[in-house]
């Protein structure tokens, strides 16, 4: 059987993998992307759809800003706007003392580009009259917004394909290894691929592969809890999320122009990794109803018509693994985006493509290096 070669093999066809495939092709690199199921089927396709910068780890905002610039250019880049609407994003809080925390974030130099505005009291309720009276304050990001996650990775994959990338769905990797100064990949249907460079964008399964290269990371899988209402007249353009330390209170919602209101958060479930399915727990749904009634009292007459979950990968410090391997030349990672990867997708693709094809990137991704887990892994292996 002939070995199929490319400059870069990407394992994992979520948003990160398909976006990187696209940008690599733009840079003239040949690409083969291997996806076990269908592009965008897991975390990429089931998340809330927040195209949000505010609230991120401050060291991630440079990457988020780079990504945001690409979101605006999506129609010209991939011929699809992914239903992106820069509708504004509000982080609201139920306690007066939390307003100071929102203010501190807004004042951080890294957040300057976000043009955050703090609202409180009467001003807040005048600008956002649908919010419940328990809401004390909020931070408004005028340029943030939302988009349709189900469309994103497939649209990037189609655009990559149009530029000549090979996207192989229903193709499961059986084994990868370093061979010579490149990598060999064998799939379960017996095909063989090779490339000088290998990118792991396998999401919740990324750790399985990084461990094979001697770089285990503390990744756990979670199922986001999502619900959607019937369509109702479009009245809530702003994406709203609750800023709080109480986990059950952390819910967020967005209304799309068709009228459905998508709700997420509160709890997470444990996915069934054997069957690659995740479920929404009844208590999640009941909690979301209760939280939404508090946040938007006028919502209580609507009906939830569907819930869904999926499989996301979370690192123990809630930051992704991104960048070069610490051990192996030519090996790169971008996985474990811990429930906040959607907005970063185009930026991650652009940065990884830059890194892989030129050897470096102008955007800071050092906080996401896999090496940050190396010493504890060494300690664990020494202890065992």
């Amino acid at each position: 059987m002939t070995v199929q070669r490319a400059d870069v093999v990407i394992v994992g066809g979520g948003l990160m993998g398909s976006a990187t495939a696209f940008f690599l092709r733009q840079r003239g690199q040949s690409v083969i992307l291997l996806e076990r199921d269908q592009v965008g089927q897991y975390a990429s396709g089931v998340n809330f759809g927040n195209v949000r910068r505010q609230g991120r780890f401050l060291g991630q905002l440079e990457l988020a800003n780079r990504s945001w610039a690409l979101w605006k250019r999506l129609p010209e880049l991939i011929d699809d706007d992914l239903e992106f609407i820069a509708s504004g994003h509000m982080r609201v809080c139920y306690r007066e003392d939390e307003i100071a925390e929102l203010q501190a974030y807004a004042a951080a130099p890294e957040a300057a580009q976000l043009d955050l505005q703090i609202y409180r009291g009467a001003d807040l309720h005048e600008r956002f009259p649908f919010l419940g009276k328990d809401v004390k304050g909020g931070s408004y990001a005028p340029h943030d917004g939302h988009a349709n996650p189900r469309l994103a990775a497939p649209a990037f994959a189609r655009a990559a394909r149009r530029l000549g990338a090979r996207i192989e769905e229903r193709t499961e990797v059986a084994e990868v290894h370093k061979s010579g100064d490149g990598f060999g990949v064998t799939t379960t249907d017996g095909r063989q691929f090779s490339a000088a460079q290998l990118l792991i964008t396998a999401g919740a399964w990324g750790e399985k592969l990084s461990a094979q290269f001697g770089e285990p990371v503390p990744l756990e899988t979670n199922g986001p809890q999502m619900a959607v209402t019937e369509p109702v007249p479009y009245a809530l353009p702003t994406v709203i999320g609750v800023y709080t330390k109480i986990p059950e209170e952390v819910i967020y919602f967005r209304q799309i122009p068709r009228g459905n209101i998508i709700i997420g958060g509160g709890y997470r479930s444990k996915p069934d990794m054997l069957n690659r399915r995740a479920y929404v727990e009844p208590r999640s749904i009941l909690n979301q109803l209760e939280q939404m009634r508090r946040l938007v009292p006028g919502i209580d007459n609507l009906n939830i018509i569907r819930v869904w979950s999926g499989i996301e990968g979370y690192l123990s410090d809630a930051l992704p693994v991104m960048g070069r391997s610490g051990n192996v030349d030519g090996l790169f990672y971008a996985f474990g985006f811990s429930g906040h990867g959607f907005q970063l997708g185009p930026g991650v693709g652009d940065v990884m493509a830059e890194l892989i094809s030129t050897g470096s990137t102008s955007t800071s991704i050092e906080p996401f290096s896999i090496r940050r887990f190396a010493s504890s892994a060494e300690q664990r292996s020494k202890a065992s």
Partner: protein
């Protein structure tokens, strides 16, 4: 009789139609006290739906040829009621292993179970027609409920279109009740019925009833056309339906003026709860749709979960009664309880006959799969979201979506309030035709909670 210890075995039955009622009756006779959860306010399910209090029509008027069976079922339930834990007006909207999530009047509660018997019944099965989103289009079952439960006709001049025994039953019920029926349009040609005759002879009584209904329609001078192809529902947005256009078997176009259309192609099972419980489904070739995969007695692929009636396998109301008794006996045997051998054998024998008959029905009144590929691009497939056949086909050709859930994610077919009940099967046929693959390979819409829309007012009430 069950021992005292056995009496603590918690049995939950979902559905109070013929299957659920006979199941409960059999368990009560064996000394158990099951919980019977009913989405409706009154027992009876769909075909034996009871009229509201204060209505006066006789059983003969309401149920015609089925009057005796309806009365027997209702009487059985009335006797049963004090011996079961009956929860009407209660929707099971979700479940986890061993626990049902219920909602009634906005209050959520849970019901723990050791054994679960799903008797969730069926809905009409629909194939879209161009224009079927116009106001005045109803399902055949809906037209029947209007008459039976509310004593109204769905319109001043009604066309009945589709295929299956229900088409003739409801049309003739309308005629008898004094409604104006403009035509009965059957997509199945006479030849299919003749070919199916040997199988239909398995239940000569039913066959005879069918011929009687046909005779009633002819006597009332209602035009009946066989082997038609639906071309469109006519009308305009503000006033709704004004007519139906079809192609007759001889190739001529026929337009029938009407202000209401009752449309349907037999039934599809309500399998959402079973799906959420993790039960396996199996593609039934004869009816070309996904049924619950149960053994002959009603055990699903999940231990402790059983199913009976049209919600598992569409075999009609009579079969549902037998299957309800049989599944109760299966559970009893699984609990090492005694079961009357001849009673068991009677149900099994009756069901064998009904299995043969329903194969005849499927042959005589086939699901018109080929209509899906023939739908014009402008025809609406998903009424809730107003998604056209053309949009759905584009997800196949432009986005490579050859599977129902994938196509749903891209096209929104199945994302509406009806949760795919009335669009998903036809959508699968459209995808299959566009992709050139068998409809079984296109798969089926994954069941998700809530089983029906759940009000955001729903709350747990702390005791």
């Amino acid at each position: 009789m069950a021992t005292a210890r056995m009496n603590t075995h918690r049995i939950a039955i979902v559905g109070a139609g013929p299957a659920g009622v006979r199941c409960a009756e059999t368990l009560v006779a064996a000394g158990f006290r099951p919980i019977l959860i009913d989405e409706n306010r009154r027992d009876g399910g769909q075909i034996y739906r009871r009229q509201p209090e204060g209505f006066t029509r006789s059983y003969a008027t309401l149920y015609g040829t089925e009057a005796d069976k309806a009365r027997a079922l209702h009487d059985s339930f009335d006797r049963l009621r004090p011996q079961i834990d009956y929860r009407p007006d209660t929707l099971v909207w979700n479940l986890t292993p061993g626990q049902l999530c219920c909602v009634s009047q906005g209050v959520h509660s849970t019901v723990e179970y050791d054994a679960l018997i799903l008797c969730t019944g069926a809905t009409d099965r629909l194939m879209p027609v161009e224009g079927w989103q116009l106001g005045g289009t109803y399902s055949l079952g809906g037209a029947q409920i209007a008459l039976k439960a509310q004593a109204v006709s769905i319109g001043h001049r009604v066309v009945f279109m589709g295929s299956g025994p229900l088409l003739y039953l409801v049309a003739s019920q309308y005629v008898k009740a004094g409604a104006s029926v403009a035509a009965v349009l059957d997509t199945s040609p006479l030849g299919h019925r003749l070919k199916a005759l040997p199988k239909l002879m398995a239940r000569p009584g039913l066959l005879f009833t069918g011929l009687k209904l046909l005779a009633q329609l002819y006597r009332a001078k209602i035009p009946v056309h066989l082997g038609i192809s639906p071309l469109g529902v006519l009308g305009e947005a503000s006033r709704g339906v004004s007519g139906v256009r079809v192609r007759r078997a001889n190739g001529e176009t026929l337009t029938v003026a009407c202000d209401a259309l009752a449309l349907g192609y037999h039934l599809r099972p309500e399998t959402q709860l079973a799906d959420l419980a993790g039960c396996r489904l199996r593609f039934d070739e004869a009816s070309s749709q996904w049924w619950l995969d149960t053994d002959a007695e009603g055990r699903t692929s999940v231990s402790g979960v059983y199913a009976a009636g049209d919600g598992a396998k569409v075999r009609g109301a009579d079969a549902a009664e037998h299957a309800g008794r049989l599944v109760a006996m299966a559970l009893l045997r699984d609990l090492q309880q005694p079961v009357e051998a001849t009673h068991l054998a009677d149900q099994q024998r009756a069901l064998k006959v009904m299995d043969a008959f329903r194969l005849g029905l499927a042959e005589a009144f086939p699901w018109p799969a080929e209509q899906a590929g023939a739908l014009p691009d402008e025809a609406i497939v998903c009424r809730c979201e107003m998604i056209s056949a053309g949009e759905l086909r584009r997800t196949v050709s432009e986005k490579g979506a050859c599977e129902v859930n994938r196509a749903k994610a891209f096209s929104r077919v199945g994302m509406g309030r009806c949760q795919g009940r009335y669009c998903s099967q036809a959508g699968a046929e459209v995808i299959a035709a566009a992709a050139g693959i068998p409809v079984q390979e296109v798969g089926r819409q994954r069941g998700q909670a809530p089983v029906k829309p759940l009000s955001m007012l729903t709350r747990e009430v702390t005791p």
